[in-house]
């Protein structure tokens, strides 16, 4: 075998490794996991700003009762595209970007398992979102049926641009499926000798499980939009009772995808936080094994709870009870995670650099979001919460100070490794405090407006909700501003930060810290030796 390889080696120079190409070609044609990771991260941040601007349109309109800036038709397009862009454009690609950067470094590999496909997974995304976002500028207007696109609002009654929306979703699905296959192959196949499964860093574990979730549910989403396409263009009646179908069937299929989808957005976040907390507590992660099992249990349970989004749809009693009990159960493995993080901090020797601040805020605010999730799971109570701002508050707590904070924490934590330069710690802390205050001022009052009865997805509201909405809008602008500030902090670090050491953080463990900072273009050109000190964190 090895002779063959040598032969190939000698005759084909272009397969030798060297540094990156120059110019645009580097980014268009790259097969390098770091370049692709970088592309994903910048793409995601761009989408975050676009999605954020749409959110600011929403918040500006809701600053006061009455119609001020936009008409209801456009408002619905804002809500829909905000949700879609944030979920599929900002959060998911950010995690894939982190996986690209980190998984090969963490398992001791030079790159991802299937580098060309990796490039394809990324480049599909800009096209998919170009397709989606361009609809906003078309005459008929963009998607306006909510990010959950319930039929028949999204079929019979949709603007004609729904066709592009459908194909955009197909493209995103293809991207996610290929990305997951790549991550699975990398993790199962490219680990350095001695890196057994139960020695893998938790970020790798959570991503492995997330990749399986993606593989299982993205095709179902593709199936759902395909049926929509057929209902719209080919006369089928999947979601039309007149032809023996059922609009509610759409919701079942959608949420079979949709619920696992929300865990797709949180499991890698759990992974990130499980890397960061031990480092700054200077203590090994508490309960590594139970963390792995808890992640797996959450993933398993996520497949049997979907109808908790549909408690008001009129399911038979047995169904309601089943989905309520199953949903409540998720609190148990999630609780295990929270308790483990707290126990990791317990009797540690903690310092509070920016990544740690974001991680701590994650634990607190995600848990609060989890609590409101549990309240939503109680079916009779959900009759009062459903489709009100209480739900909006719930999911922003798990998504913004949850998923998004973990991504920000990850960027601060690994940025020195990526570009060899430190960010400015006081600017980082300032960013944290602005974000922390902003996010709570934005979303905490939404619990109250929701409980007081304000429905979601409305451009105008009754007078009793005015105060909370005003507060929420102010918070949104603070929070939005602080993310532009984040951009500044990151760019400043990349351009003129102080050089970083290889280990960067005093308490850091893991293979990535054994590499120089910045990490070499091909992370591990030879499999590293795994010592116990580098395993598990």
């Amino acid at each position: 075998m090895s002779e063959v390889v040598e032969a190939g080696h000698a005759t084909h120079d272009d397969h030798h490794d060297h540094g990156p190409d120059k110019g645009l070609a580097r980014w268009l044609f790259t097969t390098n996991h770091k370049d692709i990771g970088t592309l994903y991260l910048w793409f995601s941040f761009t989408m975050f700003l676009i999605g954020g601007v749409l959110a600011l349109v929403i918040r500006a309109e809701l600053f006061q009762p009455g119609l001020q800036f936009v008409n209801p038709e456009f408002f619905n397009q804002m809500t829909t595209n905000h949700g879609l862009i944030m979920v599929f454009g900002a959060i998911m690609p950010a995690f894939v970007g982190l996986a690209n950067w980190l998984v090969p470094m963490m398992v001791g590999a030079p790159d991802m398992a299937l580098p060309r496909m990796n490039n394809l997974s990324f480049w599909i995304l800009p096209f998919a979102f170009a397709m989606l976002i361009s609809t906003l500028f078309m005459e008929a207007g963009g998607p306006n049926f909510g990010w959950t696109f319930y039929a028949p609002l999204s079929t019979t009654y949709a603007p004609e641009t729904v066709t592009y929306f459908i194909f955009g979703v197909h493209l995103m699905g293809a991207s996610s499926i290929m990305g997951s296959i790549n991550i699975i192959a990398t993790i199962l196949n490219m680990r350095a000798p001695g890196m057994t499964l139960m020695k893998m860093p938790l970020f790798v574990w959570t991503w492995l499980i997330t990749a399986y979730l993606l593989l299982a549910v993205m095709p179902v989403l593709a199936g759902a939009v395909t049926m929509m396409l057929f209902d719209i263009h080919f006369g089928t009646s999947f979601f039309n009772a007149a032809g023996g179908g059922d609009p509610v069937m759409f919701q079942h299929i959608f949420w079979f995808f949709g619920h696992p989808e929300v865990y797709i957005m949180i499991l890698p976040a759990f992974g990130v936080v499980s890397q960061i907390i031990p480092t700054f507590s200077r203590k090994p992660l508490f309960g590594y094994d139970s963390m792995v099992y808890a992640t797996a249990s959450i993933a398993f349970l996520s497949f049997i709870v979907w109808a908790h989004h549909m408690f008001t749809v009129g399911m038979p009693l047995a169904g309601q009870l089943f989905f309520m009990y199953a949903t409540m159960l998720i609190a148990v493995p999630t609780g295990v995670k929270v308790f483990n993080w707290v126990s990791t901090m317990w009797q540690g020797a903690m310092t509070f650099e920016t990544p740690m601040l974001f991680a701590i805020a994650f634990v607190i605010l995600f848990t609060i979001g989890g609590f409101s999730g549990l309240m939503l799971a109680i079916t009779p109570a959900d009759y009062q919460y459903h489709d009100t701002y209480f739900v909006v508050a719930h999911f922003h707590y798990v998504l913004v100070p949850g998923a998004l904070f973990s991504i920000i924490a990850a960027v601060y934590y690994w940025l020195p490794k990526w570009c060899g330069r430190m960010y400015d710690e006081s600017l980082g802390k300032l960013h944290f405090w602005l974000s922390f205050i902003g996010v709570n001022v934005t979303f905490f009052p939404q619990h109250f407006s929701g409980l007081a009865g304000m429905p979601r997805r409305i451009p105008d509201y009754a007078l009793q909700f005015a105060d909370f909405n005003m507060l929420s809008s102010i918070g949104a602008f603070i929070f939005g501003f602080s993310q532009v500030f984040f951009l500044y902090v990151v760019i400043k670090a990349i351009r003129s930060g102080k050089p970083a050491t290889d280990r960067v953080w005093e308490g850091a463990h893991g293979l990535e810290w054994t590499l120089p900072s910045p990490a070499p273009y091909h992370s591990f050109t030879h499999p590293p030796k795994i010592t116990d000190a580098e395993a598990h964190s």
């Binding site: 009762p65 009455g66 119609l67 001020q68 209801p72 619905n76 005459e139 008929a140 207007g141 306006n144 909510g146 319930y150 028949p152 609002l153 019979t156 009654y157 603007p159 609009p247 507590s281 200077r282 203590k283 090994p284 508490f286 590594y288 749809v313 009129g314 009693l317 009870l321 309520m324 009990y325 409540m328 609190a331 148990v332 609780g335 308790f339 901090m345 317990w346 009797q347 540690g348 020797a349 903690m350 509070f352 634990v363 607190i364 609590f371 549990l374 009779p380 109570a381 009062q384 489709d387 922390f436 905490f444 619990h447 409980l451 007081a452 429905p455 451009p459 105008d460 509201y461 009754a462």
Partner: protein, 385 residues
């Protein structure tokens, strides 16, 4: 044990303590911050359930965050500690799997009871069909055999000027309708909920009931309202452009008052049916037509008839509204399938259709040289069968 000095708390800690205190304040039940207790037995048991879970979460939160802040404060590196080395404890881990499970069972039990009680349909004293339309509710009073006795639409009553900020907003801004649903107190009222076009959801917070109105599918719900009063809610499923503008108002009346109202409404219905054979003057048609147009058509085609192109066509100068009347009536009576243009033949009576058709053909810049009477509409409709 070192004392906790509030000034020594890190800013994180201080903020979070404040946060927990705020939470507790809510729990203590500042009314306008909380879910409504409502007036029915069901809504009150939901409220109790809500508070029960809430307090459980608060207690868990205090324990978990308490432990965390304790270590944030005492196990800081700057306090000169050396980190411990432990990283697992099977006993602890089993404990914190089991205890939450038990807590969950303690929540699930009462939740199940409330839910079962809500599913106790049947034995109703009367039935109302609730049908969601883009963007209004239709209430149909049914007799014992589920036949319609009469129905009406309940439209948003808030004037456009208030919405557009050209007039002072009234007390029930966006929560007022032209005709509320009326039900008697202390009787078990059953609602059959469905929709005409897209999914809506019918919610009255103070009754503790919310149910999706799904086109082609029927859901049922019930309530017994013990106290007379006017109760307000909103559509809670995204249903298109005016989803935020289709409120629900229920007027719960003492039983005898309700019975009197019902008898009167039924008689008026008979009267209206008789009026269909009447011939109106052009002035009467224009006046009635303008009223019908304002309630039923203006939300899409706009009060000035300009519509919201390209989705909602302008009627001012539209070839249909100025061309042959047959085609015009066809659109109004049968709607345009697959668009938001509904079949108004099922919603309006012949007199109203005649009036609105006449109005559209003569309002704004339109100037057709015909007069549309109820009998023309009746003729058109029977020619279709």
């Amino acid at each position: 044990m070192p004392k906790v000095n509030i000034r020594r708390l890190t800013p994180v800690a201080r903020l979070c303590v404040g946060f927990v205190l705020a939470l507790v304040a809510v729990g203590a039940g500042a009314d306008e911050l909380n879910m409504t207790r409502g007036v029915t037995e069901i809504s009150r048991s939901i409220f109790d359930l809500h508070m029960y879970i809430f307090w459980i979460c608060v207690v868990i939160g205090i324990i978990v965050f308490g432990a965390m802040f304790w270590s944030l404060i005492h196990h800081r590196k700057s306090a000169g500690v050396t980190p411990a080395k432990f990283h697992e404890s099977t006993k602890l881990e089993i404990a914190w799997t089991l205890v939450p499970t038990l807590i969950l069972i303690a929540i699930a039990w009462p939740a199940t009871q409330v839910l079962v009680a809500m599913y106790d349909t049947g034995g109703e004293d009367m039935t109302v069909e609730v049908r969601g339309y883009q963007w209004k509710w239709q209430y149909k009073y049914l007799d014992e055999d589920y036949n319609s006795t009469f129905y009406f639409f309940s439209n948003l009553a808030t004037p456009q000027e208030e919405i557009r900020g050209q007039a002072e907003k009234g007390e029930f801004y966006l929560l007022d309708v032209d005709e509320p649903l009326r039900i008697p107190t202390n009787r078990k009222v059953r609602f059959l909920i469905t929709a005409e076009d897209v999914i809506h959801a019918w919610w009255v917070p103070e009754f503790g009931i919310k149910r999706d109105a799904v086109p082609g599918i029927l859901n049922d719900l019930w309530t017994i309202v013990p106290e007379p009063g006017i109760y307000r809610g909103q559509c809670t499923e995204l249903c298109g452009k005016d989803h935020g503008f289709m409120p629900i108002v229920v007027h719960a009346m003492p039983e005898d008052e309700y019975d009197a109202w019902y008898a009167e409404r039924l008689a008026a219905e008979e009267e209206r049916k008789r009026a269909l054979s009447k011939t109106f003057t052009e002035e009467e048609l224009m006046a009635e037509g303008e009223a019908v147009y304002a309630t039923y058509c203006a939300s899409c085609h706009m009060p000035n008839g300009m519509g919201v192109p390209p989705v909602f066509p302008a009627l001012d100068g539209s070839p249909i509204a100025t061309g042959p009347r047959e085609a015009h009536l066809d659109v109004i009576v049968n709607g345009v399938y697959g668009t938001a243009m509904q079949a108004f033949g099922e919603q309006l009576d012949a007199a109203q259709i005649a009036a609105v058709t006449h109005y559209e053909r003569h309002a704004w810049g339109n100037d057709a040289d015909d007069v549309t009477q109820p009998k023309d509409v009746i003729e058109f409709m029977s020619s279709q069968q």
